[in-house]
Amino acid sequence: MNDWLLPVLFIIAALAGYRLISAVPSLLHTPLMSGMNALSGVTVSGALLATAFAVSGRSELFGAIAVVLATINVVSGFLVTDRMLKMFKQDRL
């Protein structure tokens, strides 16, 4: 089942992403991008598994480095996006 499921999911997600992102106004493109940064840190889930099930010390070390990098990505991405979005205010005159 997995053989075709994942490629299909890849295509659906890519198309959905394309439509969703096209609808975001240029006003918010920078926070959108840092938000996408955070999402690309999803690789942390693969990194966690690779580290935990590593068969050698070398693999474990590499995996741990990947976990650190991907976590930076996720944490920093979401935080900085929030920091920016907080700043967008309407005119209250």
Partner: protein, 472 residues
């Protein structure tokens, strides 16, 4: 059973993340959308750890804690001007993490893995490496640690082609390699990927950075998605694909805004290199003679400010055009003060934002939001460009290429055909720039030539705007 439950939960998280992105449609709901995305990510990562029974593994917690601390520090201390560097850096980290995971999957497992897994793993290895080295070069360029001009090596095209060919040959080799040679071939793929990333990024000129960052953003997503395909990780495939196409959308928007193709950008065609700059020095007014013409004494400067203040006082409709020079001079606060002062006097004021103003997509909006300029005063180019005709005064603060009328006329220059803000259609143009040197694209700006309805106030924007503020 548990596997299916985990997959369904992953799917639910993906749907949550997608809804979060939908909320990014409007500044009113965007913050909620980001929090929703973060929450879903947290649930998804926890679920991965629980369902695979790896919660007790100490190494994971130590690595995550380290990453979280560094991530927090980066997010708290970055300034809005440095945001492009941070985004580029994070793209690089994401790419590197994906490449490393692919490497561990390819080389660290004793069990036999299928050819498809190996091939997708190899793709992730290369894409991740390209993203990593390309992003680091972008960070160096954005941070001024490296020239913002395109660096073109001797035989650059041949080098590019050779690395591309070797990547195409290497990937199937990794897929069919015996377990002994996999490590060697994987390391080779990483190295060639790193070289390719550098070759691509050093050719990109400063003005094209928004496009380069968007592209690297896309690559970091594609790297994550391909690792997901290699490891049958539903979450990584779906989220990686979304990030990948998001980057492509932004790359397209940026390319359209600059009227250039991604190929032009990657081959450095959109910025004049130093040699061509001298060769076509005759294009437009020459910068050096301009400066002498415009060499402003203190008195002429004061007269210019007085004249500008008088024109602004008489105006009813004013458009402010901020550029990256405003950010370099930290004049956002003064721009906001001028906006408030003019509005208090009952004038209609709008800010016109070019899509590539700043160093990344949407950068200028963030720089202005930081000083609490209300976002409903910020108008994208397509919404405001027809209004310049009916505008009394345009105040340009630190913008050059994006208001250069030469883009409409100077055939053969890199900015020819690029949509610009039509500031020259307004009754008066007041330009507060540091100097009359050409902008990033290297094309001289005819607005600096003496024109009846243009006032050029040279110098630091903070000082110029402050003196201007005192006059009205």
């Amino acid at each position: 059973m548990q596997v299916i439950a985990h997959k369904l939960l992953d799917l639910a998280c993906v749907i949550g993340i997608v809804s979060g992105i939908r909320l990014m449609n409007s500044p009113k709901t965007a913050r909620r959308g980001n929090l929703l995305g973060a929450g879903c990510m947290l649930i998804a990562i926890s679920a991965t750890m629980i369902s695979n029974q790896i919660v007790p593994v100490k190494a994971l917690w130590i690595s995550m804690a380290l990453g979280a601390v560094i991530g927090c520090l980066l997010a708290v201390y970055v300034t809005m001007t440095q945001m492009p560097q941070l985004v580029a850096l994070l793209n690089g980290f994401g790419g590197a993490a994906s490449a490393i995971v692919a490497f561990v999957v390819l080389t660290g497992s004793t069990a036999a893995i299928s050819g498809v897994t190996r091939l997708t793993g190899a793709i992730a290895l290369v894409v991740g490496s390209v993203t990593f080295s390309g992003s680091l070069v972008a960070v160096a360029k954005l941070d001024g640690r490296m020239t913002s001009l395109p660096v073109i090596l001797r035989g650059h095209f041949i080098l590019n082609t050779l690395t591309l060919i070797s990547i195409v040959i290497l990937m199937p080799l990794v897929a069919i390699a015996s377990s002994n040679s996999t490590t060697m071939l994987s390391v080779l793929s990483i190295l060639i990927g790193l070289i390719f990333g550098i070759l691509l990024a050093i050719r990109v000129g400063g003005a094209d950075m928004p496009i380069a960052i968007s592209l690297l953003n896309s690559l970091s997503g594609i790297a994550a998605a391909t690792v997901g395909l290699a490891t049958s990780n539903l979450l990584m495939v779906a989220v990686g694909a979304i990030v990948g196409s998001a980057g492509i959308v932004l790359t397209k928007i940026m390319c359209r805004a600059m009227n250039s193709s991604i190929i032009d950008v990657l081959t450095g065609k959109t910025t004049l290199s130093t040699t061509t700059r001298m060769a076509i020095g005759s294009v437009g007014p020459d910068a050096s003679t301009q400066t002498t013409q415009r060499a402003q004494t203190a008195e002429s400067m004061a007269a210019g400010v007085d004249e500008a203040a008088a024109i602004i006082s008489a105006a009813k409709k004013i458009i402010i055009v901020p550029g990256y020079g405003m950010a370099l001079s930290h004049a956002q606060v003064q721009v906001k003060q001028i906006l408030a002062r003019l509005e208090a006097k009952g004038k209609q004021v709008k800010l016109a934002i070019h899509p590539v103003a700043g160093r990344m997509p949407g950068h200028m909006n963030v720089l202005l939001a930081e000083v609490e300029v209300p976002y409903d005063k910020l108008y994208p180019m397509e919404a405001i460009n027809h209004e310049f005709k009916e505008t009394d005064v345009v105040l340009v603060v630190g913008a050059n290429d994006v208001v250069n009328p030469a883009a409409r006329t100077a055939e053969g220059t890199p900015i020819y055909g690029m949509p610009v803000l039509n500031v020259d259609e307004a009754d008066y143009v007041i330009i507060c720039n540091k100097d009359t040197c050409p902008g990033y694209a290297g094309v001289n700006n005819p607005l600096y030539l003496p024109r009846q309805n243009t006032i050029v106030l040279l110098g630091d924007a903070v000082e110029t705007l402050s003196t201007l503020l005192e006059k009205f």
